[in-house]
Every structure is written in structure tokens, then in C-alpha cells.
Symmetry: C2
DNA sequence: AAACCTTTCACCCGAAAGTATGAATTGACC
DNA sequence: GGTCAATTCATACTTTCGGGTGAAAGGTTT
């Protein structure tokens, strides 16, 4: 969390440095105002989208009674039972679903706004809880146990 | 193929060397006959089983009209169409099925009596034909396209 | 407050997976 | 005999996975 702030700072510093750099090394001083504004607008809109998504992501889970598996609406009731029986947390279940969709750990990390290491931790715990060694086996296992949302891949 | 013969030779040489070694270094000369026979019996029965399995494996495919996808009975007729449409060979399909069952490349190699490198080659070609990057995606893809034998994991 | 769980993340290391390239063999087809 | 695709395998290299350990932050429970 503290690191995130540091990253923000570094990103801002880099932006400022970049602006100064182009100011002194190129001949765009005449259209500097528009250019600056454009750069800054792009940067901050990107940052805003990112932060907004992340914030929304954080509140999606805190808004639904934290971690007591009673009123969570992410998964159907029967799935809930299997999950809690195996001691699989909500976050781990999310990771499991994404694994089953064929995503790499890095992709999952990007999608859930997590570090790669975190995804690894989750999947590692997941595997021991599912009693499997590989993610491919985890997919099999999860399908057997009905832990995955029906993707309905059974068409012709 | 030539390598296999060389390996056989090496294995036999090692066996002989081992027998000679225990003959000169231990005091089991008295029960040598039974011991020798036991070792040899174990070794050759193991080798026999292995060779037999391998031979059976080889003839399983040559016995069914080589590679024309007309009378092959490994997969249902509808699957055949999808496979040939994607240019997936029979061997590749075998590998694909084992991948979908959650096996590692090494396990697949052992099961099909192939080298690890060969399995990698097959899976690599498979991935490009399925237009995927990872084996987990290949599983997804194969299920979507109905390329896998029904494992019926849809029970409660 | 203390014990506990969940979630997050870092670092290291070894194993597995995947890519690229080249090559030998075999059977089919012409 | 020559061509072609399929199969097999090697070698080398990069990326991804997975295990193990430790730790920090936030929430729950007692």
C-alpha cells in the first residue's frame, strides 16, 4: 500500500522530468501549452481510469459483508457450500475461475489489480486445498466439484 | 530408433557389470545362482513388459489405416471433422486429450512412450493450430470445439 | 489487547512449460 | 525414385509455474 504511493510519486516525477526534457531538447516551445495540456490530460485520465477501476474493485468485495459466506452473491448457493467445505476463500475462488479460463498468473494479476506474487500465493494455496499439483489439474478438479460458474461450452 | 538399441545395449552392459560387481565384492557367492536368476528375471520381465506395451502402442495406430481420417475409431465422427479442419493430427489429438486431463508433459511422454521433447513439439504445434498460447487455453478451446471425448464431469 | 484469518506482497530457487531450429525416419502418394 | 506430411527427437533458450519463507496490514473473534 505504501509502495503504491511511492509508485504514484515516481510516475509523477517521471512525467515532470519528461516534460522538462522535451522542453529543452526539442523545438516545440511554440505549441508547448497545448502539448503540455494534452500530455497531462492523457496521463491523468489514464491514471484516473486505473484508480477508479481499482477503487471499484476494492469496494466490490467490502460491500458484500466482507468474508462471511452467507449472503455473498458471486456464486450460486451450492457452490458456496463446496467452497467453504474445502476452505477456499473468495479471493482464491476468483483466481480459480480465471485460471480455468486459461489466463496466466500475470494476466490474472493485471485483471484483479494484484501483484504477480499474490496471485502465485493464492494459486499455491488453492492447489493444496484442491489437492492437486498443477493448474491444469485444478481445472479438472474444479469442474468435477462444480466450483466454476457454468460457461456452457457444450454447444455444437 | 537406433538410440533405443544403444540404450538396450547399455542397460544390458550395466546389468552384467552389476552382477560381476556383486560377485566380487560381497559374500553372496553361496546363493549366487538363485540371486542371479532373480535379478535377471526381474530385469527381463520389466523390460518385456515395457517393450510389449511399447509394441502394442505402435501397432495400435498402424493397425487402423495409418492417417487417413476415414475409418479411425479413436474419436467420434463429428470430432474427426473438427480435427481435420484445424489440421490436427492424430498424435496431436492424443496429446491434447492428455493435456486436458491435467497431465504434465513428462507424464504424457511416459504414457505415450515418447520423449519429453516430442511431447513439447506436439503441444507447441497444437497450440499454434488452436491459436492459443498456453495449455490451459488449449483446454478451454478444445472444450469449446468439442475436441475432447466426453468425460461427463457434470454430476452433482 | 491478543489470537487469528484473510489478503497482500516480496525474494529466492527449482521445475515445468513453451519457442525456435534443425534433423532423421517412416509411410503414403505420384 | 522423389516428394510430402507425420512422427520422432535433440539442443538451446526464455518464460511461466510452483514451493518455501517471511512479513505487513486489516478485520474478526474472544
Amino acid at each position: 500500500m505504501k509502495r503504491t504511493i511511492v509508485y504514484y510519486g515516481i510516475a509523477l516525477a517521471l512525467l515532470l522530468g519528461f516534460l522538462k526534457y522535451i522542453e529543452y531538447h526539442y523545438i516545440i516551445k511554440d505549441l508547448s501549452m497545448e502539448f503540455y495540456l494534452g500530455i497531462v490530460a492523457l496521463f491523468f485520465s489514464g491514471l484516473g481510469v486505473w484508480a477508479g477501476l481499482r477503487w471499484a474493485n476494492k469496494h466490490e468485495k467490502s460491500a458484500k459483508s466482507a468474508n462471511s459466506p452467507t449472503t455473498t452473491s458471486t456464486a450460486p448457493p451450492d457452490v458456496e457450500a463446496s467452497l467453504s467445505k474445502l476452505g477456499i476463500s473468495k479471493r482464491e475462488h476468483e483466481v480459480l475461475c480465471l485460471i480455468a479460463e486459461g489466463h496466466s498468473n500475470q494476466e490474472i494479476a493485471d485483471q484483479l489489480f494484484l501483484s504477480l506474487n499474490t496471485v502465485k500465493s493464492h494459486s499455491s494455496n488453492l492447489f493444496s486445498k484442491l489437492d492437486v499439483k498443477r493448474r491444469t489439474q485444478a481445472i479438472q478438479r474444479a469442474k468435477e466439484l462444480g466450483l466454476l460458474p457454468e460457461t456452457d461450452a457444450t454447444f455444437g
